[in-house]
Symmetry: D2
Subunit: 341 residues, 4 copies
Amino acid sequence: MGGNSFGKLFTLTTFGESHGPAIGAVVDGCPAGVPLTIEEIRSELARRRPGGGGTSTTRAEPDDPEILSGVFEGKTLGTPLAVIIRNAGAHSSDYDALKDCYRPGHADWCWEAKYGLRDHRGGGRTSGRETAGRVIGGAVAKAFLALSRISFHAWLQDAEDLVEKSAAVRVKGDSVGGVVVCRVEGLPPGLGEPVFGKLDAAIAGAMLSIGAVKGIEFGAGFAAAGMRGSEHNDAILPAGDMWWRKDLPFGVPAASFADNHSGGVLGGLSNGMPLEFKVAFKPVPSIGREQKTIDRSGNPVPLTVKGRHDVCVCPRALVVVEAMAAIVIADLMLQNRAAHV
Amino acid sequence: MGGNSFGKLFTLTTFGESHGPAIGAVVDGCPAGVPLTIEEIRSELARRRPGGGGTSTTRAEPDDPEILSGVFEGKTLGTPLAVIIRNAGAHSSDYDALKDCYRPGHADWCWEAKYGLRDHRGGGRTSGRETAGRVIGGAVAKAFLALSRISFHAWLQDAEDLVEKSAAVRVKGDSVGGVVVCRVEGLPPGLGEPVFGKLDAAIAGAMLSIGAVKGIEFGAGFAAAGMRGSEHNDAILPAGDMWWRKDLPFGVPAASFADNHSGGVLGGLSNGMPLEFKVAFKPVPSIGREQKTIDRSGNPVPLTVKGRHDVCVCPRALVVVEAMAAIVIADLMLQNRAAHV
Amino acid sequence: MGGNSFGKLFTLTTFGESHGPAIGAVVDGCPAGVPLTIEEIRSELARRRPGGGGTSTTRAEPDDPEILSGVFEGKTLGTPLAVIIRNAGAHSSDYDALKDCYRPGHADWCWEAKYGLRDHRGGGRTSGRETAGRVIGGAVAKAFLALSRISFHAWLQDAEDLVEKSAAVRVKGDSVGGVVVCRVEGLPPGLGEPVFGKLDAAIAGAMLSIGAVKGIEFGAGFAAAGMRGSEHNDAILPAGDMWWRKDLPFGVPAASFADNHSGGVLGGLSNGMPLEFKVAFKPVPSIGREQKTIDRSGNPVPLTVKGRHDVCVCPRALVVVEAMAAIVIADLMLQNRAAHV
Amino acid sequence: MGGNSFGKLFTLTTFGESHGPAIGAVVDGCPAGVPLTIEEIRSELARRRPGGGGTSTTRAEPDDPEILSGVFEGKTLGTPLAVIIRNAGAHSSDYDALKDCYRPGHADWCWEAKYGLRDHRGGGRTSGRETAGRVIGGAVAKAFLALSRISFHAWLQDAEDLVEKSAAVRVKGDSVGGVVVCRVEGLPPGLGEPVFGKLDAAIAGAMLSIGAVKGIEFGAGFAAAGMRGSEHNDAILPAGDMWWRKDLPFGVPAASFADNHSGGVLGGLSNGMPLEFKVAFKPVPSIGREQKTIDRSGNPVPLTVKGRHDVCVCPRALVVVEAMAAIVIADLMLQNRAAHV
């Protein structure tokens, strides 16, 4: 499977350069019979559109998706769903100055060292625009998982702070990072494939594949490193009256946990508590302030990145974090069907 | 590929329950012609053996590996290497009390909900003993990467502190967590497979697949979320006199970076700086203090875990962290050979 | 990887229903730097267009491809190539009669038993139209392999016979099968990944994935079953003056073979002789003559398939056979780069 | 996934050189809860042991398997099963003469061109002994599939003929090929993953991965190429009283087929009829008669292969053909669980 595909049974393949004709996604392995409309995809895409709050680019990205295959009479067919979005509103000339030098904080130089050539216009394939394909995949995954009452909710850890800081740095041509928190509710216990396809391993791989992400932690996370076992272990309790835990297979007794330091995952398997994790985003590397770099001949040159850029990606990244989580969970839900006879 | 296999070209498959006849690993896709001896595997395994410092179990684990295939006259054949370690020194009766209840902080309950049955002796497949297979894979990967002068070094972030804390909690029947730092040197720029097989994504997935890991961060990591772009971006400089950067393909100019906030990875590709990341381990969940749990009938029971357990896994986990990093890098080095014509 | 993706490093994902908005393909893992134009794709697609000779459907399929990504200034970028073809000329109403019954020789009934629903219009995803995506992938693979002077040539085993038979059965509303022969020249020795990814195993899997294919044989093939070892073994000779065999790695001596009973593959590895295999196609199952089948209620009904169908798929399948072979070879050429240090 | 692994959910990884310490297999992804004993593996292995009938080598291969993991109290755990067989009875010195020359009909020369080195003793990894690992995987797959009443039966197409011919050529130091027929009964309709993971594509890839196989055909096979559609199409009939066809999902009506020209597969999906295919084996390439080859310096040398070899592999290959079929079917049965919501 190529580097642009993700997943084992429920798979996402994305394609497209920022200033090429179109970007898009192919979702394969979605079970047949999932009710799905273009509106569900469109409304998820709208969440990653640049918006208010002073954190986003002013590039107009209508992101109008078209479903090319895989849906018939309002339901998934079990065949691959292809969805494309035509690129529009691209100002390629904004990027002419970047053709022959390498932006700090970006992959430009590494990319040339790997592939020998690159589409410099709008960042080409390394553009944040690539995440639209992930959101398409996430919309399909969510539609499938909604049938099992599994839901996804991501938010900014310090939302008010972030808006304030964004406004402050925007006028200085600078940018800021942030932390996104994500919670997944409704997971049955036992999701995850030991030992390398653990739930948290799959989620971590998915999140770090999002551009600008620099870290992830589950439950108590890095703080757990400073805790004692007696503090960190979540005591196991009889389940009480929570609905889903009453219906466990194999005569396994209903259970609950006194706390959620684990973040909902034990030994790589979901434990029925909400899956909770935090994702750290670095500041947007494209800034209006002058930076040091080199040109294609290796000579030092000053660089001021022009164009319309986000000050902070986090608000637009919420739906991307949810999407990647949903794709991972959809895949693990299907893999889990093979766990026992 | 099953959940017990890892990698795409350089692959590791591990097997074995803690108290079964043996554990082991199959490494497939290692290129032919790598010099390799049993000693290299044995010495890496020795690093994860319980040792001094007051942090480890007292279970004697000689971990004597036997190579069954894949090596001929001191070199890898290009065929799969199978290595097994007989289990010895197992006190299965220590675990009888755990057959009918679920240990807090462990996967016992989730495992039964997934598979319907489990080998409770010594944790079965969920035992930390499983990591021996990873260390075998890591030893092979390191031997291959040594040919490219790529090296791995992991250490405890707060080593003295940890020893002190371990001694303090051991007498109370408790445990502690910790943070492991890892640095990889010698990587050529451009390693990583956009967009889902990015270097940091692959490393994150690998690290979170290690039991007890709860978080990972690269370079500035979570602190990056609080930085400005002008602070976080590492300026790009002419390379000066560093050896390897002089030999780049495609006429790409030699380069260096003013700092390493990125942790050596930009846009998912290595940038030639050392790859640096931190891994958070939770405290060992098996503790001698009484905890609340339930039994197979769902009734609350008190539990005091007997047996010989680590107080902190971090010292023994250093070689495991290095091993997983080496396996990821070996795989990406091979995948990178397909990047251009 | 989903069922609609193929390959490990050089991968093809296809999508699209026959009467949906579009069909298409995503090629991922093609190395950067391959010269490629839309013309190369278009001319390959033209070869599978219904044509003369009296064997084809009269449906007009202009098959006008659009490249959405992955090519920049005439070269592949190392990013995924997405290519789509809008569906046109579809007469969906021709298929109304097929909505509630199952065509003999087709997957209709099996499909419903698997997925619970199907797009009956034009066969949906099971249409031969799906092969256009394979041809797109093949065009990219051929462009890559042309750089290594590897070429593909498929032809009809009994071409004149076939035209004659086709004409004879067309007037009776019937159809015929045929055998396609394929030869690949220019392969370096050693292609193929023991033990499950052997060259012939990969080719066989690829060919049988083409609709209507019922068999494959390499070299002497089924006739080999009746031969003696002393007849079938191709004697190994010094290479003489053939160009490529002079440049073997590892000091391996140049060699040639007295004959090609092996079809160019020994122990799953290419041996430098032309790769030769034959593929058997069954007769087109959609025929104008009345057949017995059942309807959705399980009642027997007579069926006469209307619409415009090929009398024999073989002439149009030549380019599909070549395409699948090219995709396999491109993938194995890349995998082969990882064979030794 | 490396070249020595096979399958997607139910996976087999094999390892081992013919004259190394051991050969073996790891089966991952077998669902938990399958009753399994060492006897089932041992009795399958016994079927590939050299035996009577005058077709086999006289090398004593007791093939005594040891299960290292994955089974607990008589049932599979859902964890990987590792099984090894120690090599014994190896006469490595028989092979000294082969170190510096290349056997006709074998992969020796191609192998060196690929890997640069090889274990010449007993053919190393290319030995037919490698198939023991496949038989282990097959035994596990059969145990799983027996729960669904799916059974496998392979036989020699011309059994009496073969014994006679074998006796005749043995005295001349020659060998013969043969055809193996395989029938799989009890498959539910709908198995197979369009468009690249079709049932027949997966079976064909599996069979051609067996050493010495040169062709495969399903149902009417190559003969289908000469048939008309009206002859080849199997009419669809109401099911009558066959048991399993009465219990189809989605309200799909019970059905049967008037004949089985399709060999049980339509459009890549099982249709509920027995899956039937034929596999062509070439004659054993190791023969006692003098053949032409070259040595490592490229000089022509005469070669007479010593050692104990089969005259015909087909009798011993029956269980290997069944094994590979069972592994494919087990994998597709699990994949099929993800077909619909």
